[in-house]
Symmetry: C2
């Protein structure tokens, strides 16, 4: 099925910004259903109703396109996990809420992390930003390298446990919540 009305102009010219948004949007959508490297240019172009060539007009290479998509996913994630409260409880509650409702984009970002160096870099930056959020919520001003590393590692723990809970309903929400806050407290206390 074509994008526009039937018999529409064969060349529906659009403004570059909107095209870019559209293409990246398609990438984000596809990223939730399959791993990054299984998204072919042809797929994206077909879904957008444009030719392969046009995609290369906007993104010099497939990797550049991927990178922009993953960056967009990262930005979404960071915006969505921004916590309102200050306490660890609020933080963890918000995190669990997010994972419960939108674990698919999270997994998507996760999965792309290992595909390439640049993807891993974006993933690291994302986790670093999350670490900052946690440290802020904990009111830790000048964390040592060890504390930062420990909190970053706790994020890995939290991601794993929360995803397991969201996908396989392992334990109750309260149990998971308690496990997360307890571990964070313990880890931070131990690390300094």
């Amino acid at each position: 099925m074509a994008a526009g009305s039937p018999g529409a102009k064969r060349r529906a010219r659009q403004h570059p910004d909107e095209r870019r948004k559209q293409l990246i949007g398609i990438g984000l959508e596809m990223l939730t259903t399959r791993p990054l490297h299984q998204i072919t240019i042809d797929d994206v172009a077909a879904k957008a109703g444009i030719s392969r060539s046009l995609l290369f007009h906007y993104f010099p290479t497939k990797r550049d396109y991927y990178a922009d998509v993953v960056r967009a996913a990262s930005r979404r994630l960071l915006r969505a996990t921004r916590v309102e409260g200050d306490t660890i409880d609020d933080l963890v509650a918000g995190f669990l809420n997010f994972i419960e409702r939108r674990h698919e984009p999270y997994i998507a970002l996760f999965r792309s992390a290992g595909t390439d160096d640049w993807a891993h870099e974006i993933f690291r930056e994302t986790r670093a930003a999350l670490t900052d959020q946690v440290l802020t919520a904990l009111a830790i001003e000048q964390p040592s390298e060890l504390v930062r590393a420990a909190v970053g590692a706790w994020l890995a723990y939290a991601e794993e446990l929360a995803l397991e809970w969201a996908q396989h309903h392992t334990g109750t929400r309260e149990q998971v919540h308690a496990l997360l806050t307890g571990a964070l407290e313990h880890i931070v206390r131990s690390a300094r």
Copy 2:
């Protein structure tokens, strides 16, 4: 440079088992330097000094080859992390020793985890086996689902922290060791 002596027979026939081992060995080696999906059949064949076709004679498809390579990496990992001692201290010490010396294969396995469904499955199995090892060392006979999940998540924490330590020397070995054992004790105690 050719594999054998110069002017050797053009068709150096080998036994299937050795060929398979050789090919998988090449895959394992390449896996430490680049992400899985960047390993092309041509690369492997060239390095082995054979034609592309022969690789498809041994592995029906590229994915099957990949899967066998990743499985081999997983087996290596499990063999190398097998702990001798019984206490948590022994366990963590062995884990740190392993990560310190051979974090590259570990990272390689890590990275391949997100590339595809089958890779993720192998990764899950590997982590499940590691979880069993930990539970055994902890002398926990009949763990609840929650305890299993928590220990599995602790593995994510341990991997992250240990890799950070091995790569960027974050904190001393004793500090990391204490962080790991402390967290594990705390988590297991909380989870039941």
